[in-house]
Subunit: 661 residues, 3 copies
Amino acid sequence: MNFDNILYGVAYYDEYMPYDRIDTDFQMLNDAGMNVIRIAESTWSTWEPQEGVFDFTHLHRMLDCATKHDLKVIIGTPTYAVPSWLARKYPEIIAVTHNGQELYGHRQNMDITNPDYLRHAQIIIEKLMEEVMPYDCVIGFQLDNETKSYDTCTKYAQAKFVDYLKEQFPDINEFNHEFGLDYWSNRVDNWDDFPDIRGTINMSLDAEYKKFQRRLVTDFLAWQADIVKKYKRDDQFITQNFDYEWHDYSFGVQPEVNQYEAAKCMDIAGCDIYHPSQGSFTGREITACGNIARGIKGDNYLVLETEAAGNHPWLPFPGQLRLQAFSHIANGANMVEYWHWHSIHNAIESYWKGVLSHDLKPNRLYRECCVIGNEFKKYGSRLVNLKKTNKFAVIADNASLTGLNEFKLNNESDSNYNTVFRWLCDALYLMNIEYDVIPADPALFASYDNILVPALYSATDEVLNALDAFVQNGGNLVATFKTAFSDEHLKIRSEVQPYILNKALGITYDEFTLPVDVTVTYGGKTSQARDWMEMVDCKTATPLAMYGHKHWGVHAAITENSYGKGKAMYLGTLFGEETLIEAFKHFFGEQTNEFAAEYPVVVKRGVNALGENIIFLMNYSDDSQSVTCQTGSYKKLYDDCAVNKGDVITLEPWDFVILYN
Amino acid sequence: MNFDNILYGVAYYDEYMPYDRIDTDFQMLNDAGMNVIRIAESTWSTWEPQEGVFDFTHLHRMLDCATKHDLKVIIGTPTYAVPSWLARKYPEIIAVTHNGQELYGHRQNMDITNPDYLRHAQIIIEKLMEEVMPYDCVIGFQLDNETKSYDTCTKYAQAKFVDYLKEQFPDINEFNHEFGLDYWSNRVDNWDDFPDIRGTINMSLDAEYKKFQRRLVTDFLAWQADIVKKYKRDDQFITQNFDYEWHDYSFGVQPEVNQYEAAKCMDIAGCDIYHPSQGSFTGREITACGNIARGIKGDNYLVLETEAAGNHPWLPFPGQLRLQAFSHIANGANMVEYWHWHSIHNAIESYWKGVLSHDLKPNRLYRECCVIGNEFKKYGSRLVNLKKTNKFAVIADNASLTGLNEFKLNNESDSNYNTVFRWLCDALYLMNIEYDVIPADPALFASYDNILVPALYSATDEVLNALDAFVQNGGNLVATFKTAFSDEHLKIRSEVQPYILNKALGITYDEFTLPVDVTVTYGGKTSQARDWMEMVDCKTATPLAMYGHKHWGVHAAITENSYGKGKAMYLGTLFGEETLIEAFKHFFGEQTNEFAAEYPVVVKRGVNALGENIIFLMNYSDDSQSVTCQTGSYKKLYDDCAVNKGDVITLEPWDFVILYN
Amino acid sequence: MNFDNILYGVAYYDEYMPYDRIDTDFQMLNDAGMNVIRIAESTWSTWEPQEGVFDFTHLHRMLDCATKHDLKVIIGTPTYAVPSWLARKYPEIIAVTHNGQELYGHRQNMDITNPDYLRHAQIIIEKLMEEVMPYDCVIGFQLDNETKSYDTCTKYAQAKFVDYLKEQFPDINEFNHEFGLDYWSNRVDNWDDFPDIRGTINMSLDAEYKKFQRRLVTDFLAWQADIVKKYKRDDQFITQNFDYEWHDYSFGVQPEVNQYEAAKCMDIAGCDIYHPSQGSFTGREITACGNIARGIKGDNYLVLETEAAGNHPWLPFPGQLRLQAFSHIANGANMVEYWHWHSIHNAIESYWKGVLSHDLKPNRLYRECCVIGNEFKKYGSRLVNLKKTNKFAVIADNASLTGLNEFKLNNESDSNYNTVFRWLCDALYLMNIEYDVIPADPALFASYDNILVPALYSATDEVLNALDAFVQNGGNLVATFKTAFSDEHLKIRSEVQPYILNKALGITYDEFTLPVDVTVTYGGKTSQARDWMEMVDCKTATPLAMYGHKHWGVHAAITENSYGKGKAMYLGTLFGEETLIEAFKHFFGEQTNEFAAEYPVVVKRGVNALGENIIFLMNYSDDSQSVTCQTGSYKKLYDDCAVNKGDVITLEPWDFVILYN
């Protein structure tokens, strides 16, 4: 989906305002060069204060005033937080989870399989759609918000789960065998005896329930999309605000949603990305999470939420807000929207701060927004819809993610699937290699020269055979420990490990342990192995590094194997970023760019609709940095100054330069 | 309320004794110079072993034997722990809290709004009063013990809460607006839909429920006082055993009780103060918590409980028990009572040790009690009822305390309101400045030259205007970060910060963050900023210290402003005690005393009923300390030796000297 | 009970296998010299997939194939994990515990007092017995597995508990007095009012309930034994798989079972011992836990489970599996059985790895098993039934263990009873002193010269008088802090401490505290006191070490007292292992062995049925070690080489030598 210009704006809540100031606010948006707001997704109880009583006053105020100020509007369906009257009338709407019955108050605590919830959700969506359809300013719809199953374990959900299993396993004996239910007397020989899933100690069953919960999300969003589609115009898009595994900030692959499946009912991917700031602003999250978003539909995406001031430690240093906005665009985003315009005055997110502080006055961040907005106004039409053709792909797989949550790498550490995922992603990022993030879908493999596979713990034969073929056909494969260990139901393979891939990788292992005082050294960089190590034996592979350890030193930590027309690297343990980068330099070859730029200078690029190559040189540091053009001939986007071989570009702290040719 | 002599004694439990030894015990109390016991507050099930069956054997034994040994008695009403038969008959008496329904066993787990509880509590109080009224030795009554609402969230309590809200907000829309309930669809447009408060994510609502719970305590104690007053003689007092926020010991302002309100039905304030010992005995808690107690009624107070041996790490070094007792008196206490006489032989407090160890033999601590008691006997009539006239006051506000619990300064730290409160109190204490602790009551401000305001997060316009007037009229005000940020319902002000006070302080700010590697330097002392920092800009104020940081260094950490006839200091962050003391020395001027004594020598003073100035010089250290008289002419209380200018007083470790003139 | 040869084998689960390979597996067992399998204990739902429907296919496959391969079989009754149909039909079977009602899924979560559970358990045991009785290969029966009460607090269990109390206390007033229930109004003056035990704050009552729960285990196992005995042949034994307090591995005395009582219905003690490996393999757990097992029946024991690869950090270094196996035998075990043969492919123990990895191929560990098994084949008949005559005994008492859980030594640390137990055991072990572990049973004391008493917190007068008599009669007694402090109901003694033993020990104390910067020095070794220190005063005793502390230095940390014909040492605090060993060397005299071997070389010995003295010299380190024969004349078991005075024996890392004479 292509846009005319970059969408730049805020989430706006007229209904939260302490006093009437909408015209002031929208004028400030105009002055800042902002052009879009997202509204309506959080406040069902405002739109329907009592059952069947509707009040769209604030909605019409916002839409009328947006029309007056020429602002585009994205409408969110308000179904992720339910009114008090609905919870009181149907107490079962509030989900029963692994923690028991939740209480009313929080958002995202309802049972999305509850028929009363669904009936009332449909009513409010339809009413809202009727109200907004007359407005030209409405450009699209966000279904719900950060949708999950909220761990619903209600009778409705669990009954559906048993049906789902029955459908997969018409023969209950096959079910018992595949899930290993003889273990600890857990057999189910009559579907009616199926116990409450919350007590299970069978990780295959638990993982299957989590997979089923992800399917509930897909089904729920598709159901909402169908309702919206009954009303919407053809020029209006449908999106969702997908989020990420949260480690005090957006970190990696979302465990609770299969975003690839869930997005099938949508026109464009949307997401929210929150990241550390100040001295911890590195661009890693904007890249890793942005690449996940770009991979959802294989196209540009909307950043429906990101921080202005955000959480307590995130107040940006001068310049960082601007670098942050352009980082999203450089990565293929078509929209940057702050959550939210104004810092709110009550309740749990009062200190998740917006563009404006609680005093609602123009401030330092607003002034920085004005700079950004006016640059977007001038140059945005050449920065929007940037297309990338990456040769590297990293696989993201939430079934494997679940697998590594069911069986932790190391109970004493919090390392998980996303630790491994980010380990590979961040090494590429720090090497200035742009990459795509893709699902474990064989149809996609042939598009890439290099595929990196973090801990693909749960994999079908089909996927593993496709990876084997990828190498045979000339691809470069990197796979980590734990890859290919179990099947799609987390049943561990009873074959030589790594299952199927041992040929392409040229290795096997049948032992693994916690590394204690074990080192890995490559390219002169030594680091500690941690959390998990496999006792890898090379069959046809060449070891690049053996473990540094008296006994385990007979096994390889890093291996490389030529196989067919391609080659494959195996990483038997988790170790330091610097050592990994050395190994990657060897395996992929030195990756150069036209400016010999090295992190903290990051280079990103894309091709716009005019066919221009757009190149971003961004400085993620508190010191100024200089790079020298090595080859080619470019112009600076802002002033058309020429940049040729030998020219030095100096980047101020947290600043950037955009070139084109 | 004035007393003839210091009350010195113990909590006594004849009903816990492994064998009959009351006469031995009371003779030992006599020998130690003790003159008071507190009894009866813990053992309803002893007095009423079955419904309507009463057995006051132990009570009469204690009262008869106290009469014989000339001991005064304080009677506690036994309502804070319920009998098993009562809980069995009315299971709803045991409170439902945020943790669900509690179980019988613990004390202080009942619903103080439950009508069955209240009816039976009234019966046992009345029966007890009838039994004790004939005894002359009974000098007063303690209502219940360390009363709280015990987080009751029962149907009774929640229904009262809705009534309480309705009364405040006849217009439900105003309620929704003030509490910001549009947020996340939390509106309540019909009082009947009011959801279980335990699920709320609205901090204004949660804080209001906590305020309501504090009111329940006030109402409950007033109800008990009315019952007691039907029986008691005019010469008998009513008190309560107020306690403090607990950080493994008594730390600061009590979150769950508005002690100023709750004490209105009482004659004298009472409290329990437990503090670290051994190398951690500093006198800080005896001072800070004692000053809170003295402020409750603006008069002397009773220390109804403090440690003899107490908890595992508290066994006092030689001399510390004596210093501890006199520290309370020096601070304005009229009573020192140990919890408890004997270490008990069963149940949860078996290792919270009393004066006697489990062997019930005279021991080291008992021998130290004998010294103390006989000194009190000799000199107590001149040490009791000491009146102080302090020029410094620190404000204590449990609404603001709740505010900082609802919105923590820093989720990674346990710093809270009392951290800030104690930061200011302890700096004064270490400077040898005595201070009062007062509520945020404008009527009290004019009595002081200097008012210190820790994080007055929740404040009405009236209070803030009064503080403004205080400065205009010549007062010295110190206010910390977070002051004036929200209104009485924790709705954040949508005006310039600090709201109202920005004029007196001469500053504003609209940004704040977590300080990372930020320093504050004043008077040559550098310390780390922590937990919270505001980006303070001086308008009319002078910065005393800017933040030590590349970017945040443009903002002030400590400011001073002349305003009207007074001046005001603002502290934008939390930093080291030593730096704060330097800033206080500048702001308040060097504070000298007649002995140039510096911590660990602490000077306290008061005026007794004879008009004598009593001065305590106390050594809180394991080394001997010497001070030299700078001015004036004094006598030592114990031997009437003269102390004049130039005389040196040497204080042994954990020892003290009392002077008068 | 004596055996012909060492039992060496695995737990085997045909019902868990991903495909049919039983013949391959049993051939591999034969090849490895293994001779026994344990089967059937975990899979009730396999044997009875629906109520009254039985399917013993896997059982017969295993028994038939075992017969064919000449393997002995131990049958486990499958009652520790219930089928889903049973839990569905009788939901109350799943226990209510301190955590509320458990959920179906886990093993060991049923109420062992539930009549429906017991009725169905009897049916499956009887059916199983009928099926297995025809098989000659079956040598014995394991009742249930790692049986506990699983903290059952159901109505059945609690009603039985009240009956149990009534029986002990016909007079309810005595009950109230002994348990101190006047405290906090906890009196029970009518048994019908007895409250839910889960809420109690009375440690005496809580400890009594834990004692009662241990009795439930004894009763349950006796009930199972009676059923099995109706069927079994005289040559078949009954055992149990007792386990230990778990600290990520088997650590010490089991809190939830009185193994001495529970084993009365059995023929031979069985246990599972899991221990750290790699650089943390010390032999301490094999010794301490093995000694507990040997003490249960005062005879050799079966190691029914131990690790092959086991948990994540345990993968053994080369040689360690062999040293581990022989360590068990050296300690008096007659059986070493791995849990389990194959690593399983689903559920919670998928990464608790067996001999075979998930690929089910011969591997490094299997090859090491082959060495072990064939050594056992050759020499086992001379290594089995090794009898020991130890002069040292350490007392193990789970009532005192419960006492130290009820009242922790130090809330900031996790030190508990087993910390103290292991402190004494491990000092002996490191001194190469073999010891027995015995219950606090006066009948056993006379067999020993030296008795060590870790924190015997809960003790009757009878036991304490017997320890007094032991010293009077010439024994050497070591007792630690906390010994003799309370009676059998955890009521603290109101007499001089240590109660009764103060005469034998020659000391008293009436104060204790947390040691802060306190040292203990003996024999030139200084260490920190930790967790608990008593202010010991010597009466007739001699202090060996005073506390290193300004104030507490007047009290003794280690004392020694001559009393009657014996002597007694008291340890007033917990301190470093090296200091303790120095004190023990003084108290017990230097302990020499024929090889002057010092840890990491460990010497163990026993006498076999041929009357040969068997001596193991074992090297628990990663370096080779040499010892020199000091006296005597031996032969090496494996090659009959002579070893005489002056001969040097070199032990490779993790290797051992067996001598005899």
